[in-house]
Symmetry: C2
Subunit: 113 residues, 2 copies
Amino acid sequence: MARAATTSDAFNAVAEPRRREILELLAFGERSVGDLVLKLGLEQPSVSKHLGVLRRVGLVRARRHGRRILYKANPEGIRPLHAWTKTFERLWEHQLLRVKERAEEKPRQVERE
Amino acid sequence: MARAATTSDAFNAVAEPRRREILELLAFGERSVGDLVLKLGLEQPSVSKHLGVLRRVGLVRARRHGRRILYKANPEGIRPLHAWTKTFERLWEHQLLRVKERAEEKPRQVERE
DNA sequence: TTGACATATTCCTATGTAGGAATATATAGT
DNA sequence: ACTATATATTCCTACATAGGAATATGTCAA
């Protein structure tokens, strides 16, 4: 089998760098598709397709305004990612502490293997 | 072109659910490959390949111990993901506040379009 | 060195998908 | 109704890759 579908969840959706760029732009507020096209330098269909993926996994919301369609980030969709990564927070804090400890103590003990 | 390579960065690496499972298991401490195989119910080559991806992007560290090879999570590798998602934290906090406000005030104003 | 155990790697194939080109849909203005 | 504008969708193709099977590599013990 191939990789899981991007439409399946937010993790896959943000694995694509362009989609992260889009989310970063939409974090400042609403933007039309054409606006994003200008900012990103991508083809309009590409942007629309990326927005489609982001919308399907709930990372952005869209509303029509005249001829334009305005997109905005739905930060709630990013929360699960944040929560998952946060479970490792205590680990890297612990890791940093160990590094600091080693730097302060004398190098008596040699790492085995 | 196709999707970006999983070996390219941590975002792609954790997009795969199995790899997230592996990281969650390795968060508790070192584990051998065979141990992970038992816990995950996957084929040994699959686990080895996932570990290879995680190792290449710096999400896990490995050391040989006799015949076994022990893997552990390298939480530092997850920090960039956490940092990226955290930039949206103020947004969902703001969003939650707005939801709360709306729930408390009388529904006088109608959302346009 | 031979054999058993533990892990990695190679080869193969099916599949999801990003991007490009062309086209379809929708809206506003005249 | 017609036209221009804005966005979405469809079709196509190249390609990365997940998993399976088979094999290779590495390590210990006798």
